[in-house]
């Protein structure tokens, strides 16, 4: 479980997160939803320590992450994987080198063991025979999948995904969502996903936290989100004709 308590973050005098308290549960896809610019990425980067929080506390199970030094954070960071919005694959490395990079850095595995692990992770995201390609040579959807493969290479307990299906066609987006959901269940990970895509919300939202104006505005899951009478949430959820039709049913 990951728990944020009263987390605040501002840039200059722009308050982006205003005292957010939220729990992310183990074995579930925990979704953070909100409009573009609402602070989802900032919240996620605060959770993983890429941004220092101004106030509050972040806990990983029983460990207080937000007070740790870089070296102390390392222990937890080897237990977490993150999928960045653009994939953030290392351009200078091949697909396989990308996936085994954390293994090379932190384990003493032999080249054969690493290759085996890379192939295993690639098979988990339904890719094969792409080991020697560079990120520039593969499609957007494949990049996302390779990035997921890299994120799970170290068998993480915690998985973070920043808009995993932005910029993808609806079908590929759906494949990626389900992949993340399956991996979460299979490895009992604590998965946190940023999204503004209602499809993902209804597909995989085991737990949903809606961020509005820097505050945690609503919490629920994929079943309760369509029933809510919270006006700001409804404005977000029923922004398109498609979701409005869903409500009428």
């Amino acid at each position: 479980m990951i728990e944020a308590s009263n987390v605040s973050k501002s840039f200059g005098d722009h308050l982006v997160l205003d005292g957010i308290s939220v729990k992310f549960e183990t074995g579930k896809c925990n979704l953070i939803i909100g409009q573009s610019g609402s602070g989802k990425t900032v919240l996620m980067k605060c959770l993983v320590g890429l941004y220092e929080i101004d106030n509050g506390r972040v806990m990983y199970d029983d460990r207080i992450f937000s007070r740790m030094s870089f070296d102390e954070m390392k222990v937890i960071r080897q237990e977490l994987g993150m999928l960045f919005q653009g994939g953030a694959l290392f351009d200078s490395m091949t697909v396989e080198e990308n996936i085994v990079f954390p293994l090379s850095m932190f384990t003493n595995q032999s080249p054969e063991e690493k290759r085996e692990r890379a192939n295993f992770c690639l098979s988990k995201v339904n890719l094969e025979n792409v080991n020697k390609l560079r990120p520039a040579e593969i499609s957007g959807g494949m990049k996302k999948r390779v990035a997921i493969a890299r994120a799970i290479a170290m068998n993480p307990k915690y998985l973070f995904c920043d808009e995993p299906n932005s910029g993808l066609d609806p079908h590929t987006a759906n494949v990626i969502d389900n992949l993340i959901s399956e991996l979460t269940k299979e490895y009992n990970m604590t998965t946190v996903i940023n999204t503004h895509d209602m499809n993902s919300v209804i597909e995989i939202g085991d737990k949903i936290s809606y961020i509005y104006k820097g505050k945690l505005w609503w919490e629920g899951n994929k079943d309760t989100i369509l029933e809510s009478d919270n006006p700001e949430l409804n404005e977000f959820v029923f922004a398109t004709e498609l979701t409005r039709k869903l409500k009428q049913k």
Partner: protein
């Protein structure tokens, strides 16, 4: 303006302290250093050679025209060409050229990694991104640049010889006698010390600008320009300081 300058200096010093933190896994760093020697050093061989031969030739011809009097022996042309090359031309001018070539490469490489979140990806894995990205480049440059500079000296002096002989301004024997005359090994040390310091400045300053890039492709371009301009300025200032310290 002044507070902006102080801000950059402060943040630069903090970054450099981070860069020299204990690396995670030494074998990986060793491999990175070899890769960077190729990227930053061997890839610059052609331009260094090209510029050196031509500059040496020009230096020799200019010396010959300036010393167009029977009172000065002809070998002085060889001597003066060598001195200019060793003391100033190779260490400083070649370093300035490397600041343009290597500096822009480093800022844009690291800047792109910043704006595409590759640096965040490193940090998330528990890897210190400053050490991983900048340290191997600094070591590689401080090792390879002095070698490039030595090579430049040899090629520039050879370029002078070629120009002197082909134009008939200096007979080969006089030139060769000149380049061997009054030779002080200290001059070579002086040039190498300079090139090591300049290598550090180029990599650390352009690395700094790359590392703190914010935004997108446009800002990567701006960071690359800043990396080149600021490392060029630093070389010019440190050239004066080092000349005063080492020669006076």
């Amino acid at each position: 303006m002044i507070s902006g300058f102080l801000f950059h200096i402060g943040r630069y010093i903090l970054l450099i302290r981070q860069v020299f933190k204990r690396p995670e896994k030494q074998s990986i760093y060793f491999r990175q250093i070899l890769i960077e020697i190729e990227n930053l050093g061997l890839d610059s061989l052609a331009i260094v050679a090209f510029v050196s031969v031509f500059m040496g030739a020009v230096l020799c011809i200019q010396m010959a025209f300036n010393m167009d009097t029977p009172l000065i022996p002809l070998y002085t042309i060889g001597f003066a060409t060598r001195q200019s090359v060793v003391l100033e031309f190779s260490p400083t001018i070649i370093s300035l050229i490397l600041a343009g070539k290597v500096g822009s490469r480093i800022s844009s490489e690291i800047g792109t990694m910043r704006v595409t979140e590759q640096i965040d990806a490193l940090e998330i894995m528990g890897i210190n991104p400053t050490t991983y990205l900048i340290f191997p480049k600094i070591v590689a440059s401080m090792f390879i640049n002095p070698i490039l500079i030595m090579l430049s000296m040899i090629l520039a002096v050879a370029g002078g010889w070629l120009a002197g002989s082909l134009t008939g301004l200096v007979p080969s024997s006089e030139y060769v006698y000149g380049i061997k005359a009054f030779f002080e090994v200290y001059d070579i040390y002086y040039a190498l010390i300079k090139s090591v310091v300049f290598a550090f400045l180029i990599v650390s300053i352009s690395g700094y600008h790359g590392f703190y890039t914010k935004g997108g492709a446009l800002e990567v371009g701006a960071a690359s320009t800043k990396g080149v301009v600021h490392s060029t300025m630093a070389i010019i200032v440190f050239n004066l300081i080092l000349t005063k310290l080492l020669l006076a």
